[in-house]
Amino acid sequence: MNTAISVSGLVKTFGSTVALDGLDLEVATGEVHGFLGPNGSGKTTTIRILLGLLRADRGEVSLLGGDPWREAAELHKRLAYVPGEVALWPNLTGGEVIDLMARLRGGIDKQRRAQLLDRFDLDPTKKTRSYSKGNRQKVALVAALASDVELYLLDEPTSGLDPIMEAAFKESIGELRTRGRTVLLSSHILAEAEALSDRVSIIRAGRIVQSGTLKELRHLTRTTVIVRTERPADLIHEVPGVAHIAHEDGQLVFDVDTDHIDEAMDYLAPLKITSLISHPPTLEELFLREFGDRVEAESEEVHG
């Protein structure tokens, strides 16, 4: 079997709200798949259908070769899940929750548990009611990562983590990749999905709008450059890979394909750069640019 997750034409409505509107998603076995979309676009709904927690209105869903609605419990023994909003039993300690979840799933690797607690700098003796959002997320992450399963479903797992812990998380994902595990990683941060994933699917308003390897999606990951030069950079449009040129407050703003950054810099350098900012595009900028709509307006419409 080389397809871990296969979804086609998935539809799910809540009352009059259409959460998923014909979603297609393919995740191959052994890949880290970024599931990218703004808040309220249907990521969590998709994952909950994959877990058999919600029933699909229409469409085909196959998970690890089975039907997640009918064979939920059997399939779940082969996967681990980290919810986006981690709620824990307030009077249990973090360590107790980790052990409990692992036992419900069918066992824990003690050495790996200790290693993960150390890596994520988590105190397992604290009652979970005193944990911050980030610490609750760490509990769920350690519980999931300490289990050796085929598939990991991670719903925005880094949203409460600080940058150091994000590094620890990246390290863990790297290990899963080496061991040939499949990971579905949902996120609304383009850079995160880009850094971790082999392939990416972008969801918008309950539909996949782009899907492919990072190379195929290279045009989406252009770098935005904001630069001020002593002499005018009038010929910037002639540099290959440059797009969306604008002048703001005497500064030049443009996007450039990652492959052509070098040429752009070569052109700008002789013009005497006095200030330079560059950053990867945010998902919001990407949506604005590629699909011509505003994410804020859309999330309001779909949310709920």
């Binding site: 909950r48 877990l51 058999g52 927690l53 919600l54 029933r55 939920a72 419990a73 059997e74 779940h76 023994k77 996967l79 899940y81 919810p83 909003e85 981690v86 709620a87 824990l88 039993w89 307030p90 009077n91 249990l92 300690t93 360590g95 107790e96 929750v97 980790i98 052990d99 409990l100 979840m101 036992r103 419900l104 799933r105 069918g106 105190d123 397992p124 003796t125 604290k126 009652k127 009611r129 005193s130 769920a140 479903l153």
Partner: protein
């Protein structure tokens, strides 16, 4: 910025958030007080009956320990106070505790005080608003109780003083809760500490009242009762309550100034780093989550049973003097008055135990809406296994709580009769109500399975059963309505013969209800 900047808008905010919570509490306390006062006044309507009450109930240490000092029991007013003050005083204290903690430590734990603190409010505005609202609510309860006593034709002076003594109790415990909210890091801890203080206040006055000693004067609950209504009618003990409140509030402000937001004075204790072997699987988890509740309810119902059992001796004497009571017990059709009394006690204990059963069954929905079910169902646990596993804990817990009531009755009855076998006989009788209680569990499961959003309606079903069993005879409800409650169908042991047929039918009904509920639970979306 003065000390009270931001209190006014916060007050409005707190009142708005409490627009259901507080009215429900206030109405419950006032209506319960009114209903029992009315019933008591109707039961003891001749001087002979009143004197008999004073001689029997008023001299029983168990009853004094529960109710308070036996003051002026040779007039109906004294009996009304004696019969209603425990519920009213404890009720108003609980209301104040829950209300204050809910708006202070719980909000702080949820991080919402931080949000408020960043706006223009003074450092103590949140606690001030919470205490003011709880204090006002206590005064409203006192006012309502005073009106209820007026409605029962009691003198204005006694009615007003009674209301004031109840309000004073609420105000003191608003102060206790405010202080506890500073000391403890978590809302649960703050509620626990406040309840411990309430328990201590109860215990001190129980010891003091039984031994007629000064211990009662160490208890805020004692102060409210030392007004000695219908006798001395002295308001000055309430000044002690107000003085203590002021001291508690000063301590609260000092403590709050010395601590950081989110921190408590008492540091949280660390727990275990690894789960014990028993914490595994659905059963292990459910038991862990519910064992505290099972223990608490079992002790509560057991204590109630103990009290009922202790009345057995005085009840025979009283019935001789009181035709109303005699008529009531005759209507049950018992040969022995004591058996008839126990039959009534068993129903009440059964309904009380159903309170645990319903709350336990509804925990399934609570886990779901708190988003804690989702990760469990995402492991190898199937929906039926999870639901039935949780309900197995409910079944065991319910059995323990139901039996605890009969055990309590038997224990104190055995104390008077010196017949040890009474302990087991009464425990067995109480278990006759288990099938009826399980029908209510099934109602909760049906709701959780098919209409989870209104699962709380299971409480309404329990309330209906309570009204039918407790007031059905008094209100002369038609038989068809009485039959709605499963408790109606349980043979009234020990006054009636124990027959298996109705119990088997109730068990089958409960089983069918759970099965149908499970079908719904398997088919629907898991929602938060």
């Amino acid at each position: 910025m003065t000390a009270f900047t931001g209190v006014a808008p916060l007050l409005r905010f707190v009142l708005r958030r409490d627009r259901v919570f507080l009215p429900v509490w206030i109405l419950s306390i006032v209506v319960l007080t009114y209903a029992s006062a009315a019933a008591v006044r109707r039961t003891y309507d001749t001087q002979v009956e009143i004197d008999s009450y004073a001689a029997n109930i008023g001299s029983s240490p168990a009853s004094i320990a529960m109710a308070g000092p036996p003051v002026a029991l040779r007039e109906i007013g004294g009996i009304l106070i004696y019969e209603t003050s425990l519920t009213a005083l404890v009720g108003v204290a609980l209301m104040a505790i829950f209300s204050v903690v809910r708006h202070t430590r719980r909000e702080e734990e949820a991080g919402r005080v931080e949000l408020l603190g960043s706006t223009v409010v003074s450092p103590h505005a949140v606690i001030t608003a919470a205490v003011v609202v709880a204090g006002l609510a206590s005064v409203v309860v006192g006012f309502g109780v005073a009106l209820a006593f007026q409605a029962e034709q009691q003198p204005a002076l006694e009615s007003t003083l009674y209301g004031a003594s109840i309000a004073a109790m609420g105000i003191v415990f608003a102060g206790v809760a405010a202080c506890a909210a500073q000391l403890m890091t978590h809302a649960r801890g703050a509620v626990g500490l406040s309840l411990a203080v309430l328990g201590l206040a109860f215990a001190l006055r129980a010891v003091g009242d039984v031994g007629n000693s000064l211990w009662s004067w160490l208890s805020p609950m004692g102060w409210s009762q030392q007004v000695r209504l219908y006798d001395d009618n002295r308001p000055w003990p309430l000044a002690l309550s107000l003085t203590l409140t002021v001291l508690l509030l000063v301590a609260t402000v000092v403590l709050e100034s010395r601590r950081d937001l989110g921190a408590g004075i008492v540091p949280a204790r660390p727990g275990v780093a690894e789960a014990s072997p028993s914490l595994s699987g659905v059963l292990g988890l459910s038991w862990r989550l519910q064992r505290g509740a099972v223990l608490g309810w079992a002790i509560g119902v057991w204590a109630m049973g103990l009290t009922f059992g202790s009345f057995s001796e005085s009840i025979e004497n009283m019935v001789e003097d009181n035709p109303t009571l005699a008529q009531y017990f005759e209507s049950i059709g018992a040969e022995s008055i004591v058996d008839a009394f126990f039959a009534t006690a068993m129903v009440l204990l059964g309904i009380l135990a159903a309170g645990y059963a319903v709350s336990s069954a509804l925990r399934t929905r609570a886990e779901e809406s708190a988003d804690r079910l989702e990760p469990v169902l995402a492991t190898g646990v199937s929906r039926p296994r999870w639901l039935l596993g949780s309900l197995l804990v409910t079944l065991v817990g319910t059995t323990v709580v139901v039996a605890a009531g009969g055990f309590g009755v038997g224990l104190s009855y055995a104390g008077t009769t010196k017949e040890v076998s009474e302990i087991w006989r009464m425990t067995a009788y109480s278990l006759a109500y288990l099938p009826a209680v399980l029908v209510l569990v099934a109602v909760a499961v049906l709701l959780v399975g098919w209409v989870p959003r209104v699962a709380g309606a299971a409480w309404a079903a329990l309330a209906v059963c309570f009204v039918i069993s407790y007031l059905g005879g008094l209100l002369e409800l038609p038989q068809s309505l009485l039959d709605v409650s499963p408790f109606t169908h349980v043979p009234g042991v020990p006054a009636e013969e124990l027959t298996a047929a109705p119990l088997v039918v109730l068990l089958l009904l409960a089983g069918a209800g759970v099965a149908v509920g499970l079908v719904g639970f398997r088919r629907r979306d898991i929602a938060s």
